[in-house]
Amino acid sequence: MIKEENTKLHNFVFQMLPWIIPTAFIILWFVISEAGLIPTYLLPHPVEIAKAGYTYIFDTPGDAPFAGRFLSDAGASLIRVCSGFAVAVILGIPLGIISGRLVSVRKLLSSTVNGLRSVPGISWLPLAMIWFGIGIKTTIFLVALAAFFPIYLNAAAGAGQINPLLLQAGAMMGVKRLRGTFAILLPGAMPHIMTGLRLGLGISWAYLVLGELTGVPNGLGAVIMDARMLGRIDIIIVGIIIIAIMGRLSDQLLTASLRFCFKSAGRMS
């Protein structure tokens, strides 16, 4: 009896673990603001942030600056993140798997990829603006470029570490190359591929904001930039919080949909 209650309590605490740090952070923030330790033009009161967030998300557009912009901003940003990420996936996974299996392809690609990888994304920004202008194309380019590397490298590592005996077993059971790729290589590499996709999606959000800082009319990054120009620190913080939440949700959605679509994603991790 006692033991059961203990496990219940234990489970509850366990479920609450992810919320402890954000909650503590908000409480600390509240205390600092109530005590007036930091001036409001540097860090507004959390209640002010909540109000600004409410206006940004729920109010009718035009009622106030930033009112009701959330849906169109989030929509625009989501489209950019998804397109850039999709480009990175379409290039990164096949190239990664091929270079994980074929030494010649790996040799062909590795110096170039690792060279390009060490160039910080922000140094592509000026070039991208010249090539693609200000707007959606630049953002998609930056997102795709940044997300490609973790996706490619992890797919290559995953395909490289597959137990050769599994491939031999497949061959003796009559598996030809095409089926082997989808029935053995892909699932065998899946845990690594999943890691690469999650890292890539995370970095996509980072480069989204970078791409949107350059004067596009809408998007979550654009809102932050606009708010900076207008001195609206509350909206900057609202933007940051929204990006954090959307990044977290998109990661969960990605993991869940991979597990739903691929047996190997659900059963090996």
Binding site: N163, L165, L166, Q168, A169, A171, M172, M173, G174, V175, K176, R179, A183, I184, P187, G188, M190, K263, S264, R267, M268
Partner: protein, 263 residues
């Protein structure tokens, strides 16, 4: 080399037809610039339905020989003829049960067993029926939805056996498949293999270093020597089945084999 087309005598069905012929097989590996003859002049034939053990100490090249029979390795010279056709690639007519766990970890027991059939154009119902039959044959019906990591080593080897038997190979190649199992489980697996063989009458080539295992299982034992690997003895095992290790004639036979192995 043409396949033997002579009719098998009625009195001895199945067992007298040659299915596999190995002619002067050699394998040379190059290690640090030095050529090392691992197998040298291997000659033997296997008749349909025979259960042969290749017995040898570690390093005698018995696993290399099996890999060549499976088509994973190409011989340096000589030939392997299955029903008169040279073996060049891995294929479903020669299936392997490995010593290591080579089940697909992302597939359940029944999905692993169905894996080979799915490559053939077969309807779902037919696959399901075959899978049911072979899961029952290896006694894993209750564990059909388990993942490999959730079952024991002995059960994994049962799955490994079922997933190749379902493909109806002409020859079953077994590379020390029970070597990493505990003694009781190994005995269980040996009995399972013998009973399956009675039901399905497979031709089996079984590589082992375990003298007891060889005497328990085989109709014929090929004893290999080391450096270079050669077949030193080709011994018919004429003990009555089922063979019990405690029996006098078993002990006598084992002693004889040991002598060949250690000379």
């Amino acid at each position: 080399m043409k396949p033997e087309l002579t009719a098998t005598p009625k009195s001895d069905p199945g067992i007298s037809k040659t299915i596999l012929k190995i002619n002067n097989l050699k394998k040379v590996f190059r290690v640090n610039g030095i050529f090392l003859a691992v197998l040298d002049g291997i000659d033997f034939t296997v008749k349909k339905g025979e259960m042969i053990c290749i017995l040898g100490r570690s390093g005698c090249g018995k696993s290399t020989l099996l890999k060549m029979l499976a088509g994973f390795l190409a011989p340096s010279s000589g030939e392997i003829l299955l029903n008169g056709k040279p073996v060049t690639n891995p294929g479903t007519d020669r299936c392997v049960v490995f010593q290591e766990d080579t089940l697909f970890p992302w597939l359940t027991v029944q999905e692993n067993i169905a894996f080979g059939l799915k490559g053939r154009n077969k309807d779902k119902k037919g696959i399901r029926k075959e899978v049911d039959r072979f899961i029952a044959l290896v006694g894993l019906t209750e564990f059909r939805d388990y993942l490999p990591r959730e079952i024991s080593g002995g059960m994994k080897q049962r799955v490994a056996l079922a997933r190749v038997l379902i493909l109806k190979p002409k020859i079953l190649l077994m590379d020390e498949p029970f070597a990493s199992l505990d003694a009781q489980t190994r005995e269980e697996m040996q009995n399972l293999l013998l009973s399956l063989r009675e039901k399905l009458s497979h031709t089996i080539i079984f590589v082992t270093h375990d003298v007891n295992e060889a005497v328990t299982l085989s109709d014929r034992i090929l004893v290999m020597s080391k450096n270079p690997g050669r077949i030193r003895e080709d011994i018919h095992v004429d003990l009555v089945r089922p063979r019990k290790m405690e029996k006098q004639e078993f002990i006598f036979f084992r002693r004889k084999l040991y002598k060949h192995l250690c000379d």
